[in-house]
Amino acid sequence: MPNNRHWEINSTGKKLALLSLLFLLSALICIPFADLKIYPSEPWRELGRIAWGFVTPWWDDPWLLVQALGQTIAFALLAVVLAVPVGMLLAMLWHWRVVRMLAASVRAVHEIFWGLLFMQLWGLSATTGLLAILIPYSGVFAKVFAEIFTRQSPLPQATLAPASDRFSRYAYTLIPQAFAELSHYVRYRFECALRSSAILGFIGLPTLGFHLETAFKQGQYSEAAALLWVFFILIATIRFWLQPKLLPVYVIAAIWLLPETPPVSGGMLWQFISEDIWPRSLQDGDLSAALSWYARVFTSEAWPALLQTLMLTQLALVLTGAIALMVYPLGSRALAGRYRLPGRGLLLVLRSTPEMMFAFVLLLLFGPSGLPAVVALALHNGGLIGFLAAGHSEKQIQRLDDPSGMNRYLYQQTPRLYPGFLAFLFYRWEVILRESAIMGILGIATLGFFIDSAFEELRYDKAFFLILVTALLNILVDSVSRRLRRVSGAEDAGGLG
């Protein structure tokens, strides 16, 4: 496996330790400034109902459930099928700076925000859902494919005719060389797409998230649990039902399943691009008034929200790392042996439960502050990284004289995984930043909170500007993490982002 090589990068260790300490320190510095207050509450009645609902899943309209499940898969599948060729094309043109910038900027916007933007044009339709997943995923594929290609040996290319063009080089050497790795990544990304698809239901697309959010919001926890269980099972069984041979059948079924797209007039599209997303003053040609409008939004909302978001992200990132290190051995054959099944279950639940639900439960426990946000983000992302790390831990070659128990965890597995583990964390950095957007219910004014408010108040000019600020922040974080990765030797993790 080409992946393993990268998990076993022989680093000096010192650099990695230094980098980890740096992150820990940055989180410690954030603590006094971040708002992590705990409020006393009496959560037990509500928590009891949630727990009871979780173990007594109930859904009375199976047809509705089947429909939502079908739509969830349909959106995810078609979006990935379309995003792969686009991402591949971009990856082939990766030497152009403009392509790298484009990929970074489309990646930087959360699926939910893409969805909210496209909803203004196409309503709750197939087009909105597909584009909302397809666009950011193309950017992700482009980046990861390009990274995979750079790791391939250049030797086979030497056998091609000297006049061969770029596309022949990819078609006859690089893609076949990297095929296993590429398809492994696409598979992993499909699981992410199922999550994205489900979560798009929160803004109204007819996927599982649609009913899940409603049931949860209305306190019908048994129904929410039924949907969650279905989703867990869907994710857990991907490797059984996602057979390459069946793909054409799935694609046709998915096209048939998608909801119809209502007609959109070209005039509306043009109005949205040329008027709605720009402030009044700019449309009137009053440049100085427009500048002062942008400056006002920046100082009153974007800047404080940016600090708040960065602080939460930093704390969540470090806690994510800690949780991932704690939970990964539970799901690894090398460490948990045949007792790994419950551990796998835990990792599945952690990574597949939307953060919004963790946040609500923790809100009941701790009261409204940054604390539930940080813990919710860390549980979800820790579960995800733990799952990836467990997978890689299993691929390690074992020897008869390997240590066992704690010694194996502390002195063999974890050190071996650590460079890749850090790389994962860096990838998740930008993801956590995007996800901190969901925390409006906690009364924390992150960037996402203001973007959501702007959409709710129909101020698309403000929403668009704040999304741009978020995207720039994301691009910045992405380039810092790339640099840190390069310096530390946590170069890359087989492209699992």
Binding site: Y39, P40, S41, E42, P43, R45, E46, L64, L78, V81, L82, P85, M119, Q120, L121, G123, L124, A126, T127, G201, F202, I203, G204, F210, H211, E213, T214, A215, K217, Q218, G219, Q220, E223, P248, V251, I255, E260, T261, P262, P263, V264, M268, F360, L363, L364, G367, P368, S369, G440, I441, L442, G443, D452, S453, F455, E456, E457, L458
Partner: protein, 286 residues
């Protein structure tokens, strides 16, 4: 090559569905009260309208106030059951659109301020200064009863924005969530739609020992049916009037329970001027 054909046929299907344009009259409703089974309940309303209006009527569900407004603006729906604020917002961006009917109860709607017992607040005729420094949650950001009117009266009493009055201000996103969060003490105080609260009390879902109503807002106009101005041109002369009459004549208790209202009464854009003024006063619209 095969994948390219697949992509092309997919794109062809999209554009085909883009062009399909049957004359169906579509309506939506903001997701506010008892959101679950909305589809089933409103499909019955759609059947009733189809029967009475003589055109095919369809209901589409939405998840948020802004999604309802967007669908209305984009002509993806021609009729909508809006809240006070969302109706005002929608009519501002769609020329010629009109409020045609409201629920009987909507002529004198109100909000409750509810508090957890740990806040130490008691029911009173006026807002208490003891609210200062508590944690507080609104419902959805675009809600009239869960946000707009409570915020207006809070600003009026304290002469300050909620963020400056309370230690923390959250948006639960939903009336039921507001109740759950205040009942558990996660937030000490919250603002909630009176009819959702009364319904949950009647259903025995609320432990009135831990959470109670401490203040009631003055009444204001809320939910209404708003219709686009161009429906007569599309569905025939007099169509708007026909829709209005059909709504006003809705007497089936089962259908009315979807809203839930006892009946519908006539309404006009002017009825909602107070809502528009309030929204302007607190800076929600320009």
């Amino acid at each position: 090559m095969k994948s390219i054909t697949r992509v092309l046929s997919l794109l062809a299907m999209f554009s085909a569905s883009l062009l399909a344009n049957a004359e169906t009259f579509v309506f939506t409703a903001i997701p506010d009260e008892d959101e679950s089974r909305l589809q089933q309940r409103f499909n019955k309303v759609a059947d009733y309208l189809t029967e009475q209006l003589g055109v095919e009527v369809k209901y589409i569900p939405v998840k948020s106030y802004s999604a309802a407004i967007t669908a209305f603006r984009n002509d993806q729906v021609q009729l909508a059951w809006f809240g006070g604020l969302s109706g005002v917002q929608a009519r501002r961006i769609v020329d010629g659109s009109e409020a045609i009917a409201q629920g009987y109860e909507d002529q004198f709607f109100k909000s409750y301020i509810i508090a957890h017992k740990s806040a130490g607040l008691t029911p009173a005729e006026t807002l208490s200064d003891a609210l200062k420094g508590k944690t507080f949650t609104f419902g959805s950001k675009g809600s009239t009863s869960g946000r707009l009117m409570p915020e207006f009266y809070l600003r009026e009493h304290f002469n300050a924005a909620p963020a400056d009055v309370f230690e923390r201000v959250g948006f639960s996103g939903d009336h039921s969530r507001t109740i759950a969060q205040v009942q558990s003490g996660a937030y000490q105080v919250g603002a909630v739609n009176y009819s959702v609260w009364d319904a949950e009390v009647a259903a025995g879902k609320i432990d009135t020992n831990s959470v109670q109503v401490i203040w009631t807002t003055p009444t204001y106009p809320d939910y209404q049916w708003t219709i686009r101005g161009d429906v007569d041109a599309r569905f025939g002369e007099g169509f708007k009037e026909k829709v209005r009459t059909t709504l006003l004549n809705m007497t089936d208790k089962d259908l009315l329970a979807s809203f839930p209202r006892q009946s519908f009464v006539p309404a006009s854009n002017a009825d909602y001027a107070p809502i528009e003024d309030t929204a302007k006063a607190i800076g929600l619209i320009d």
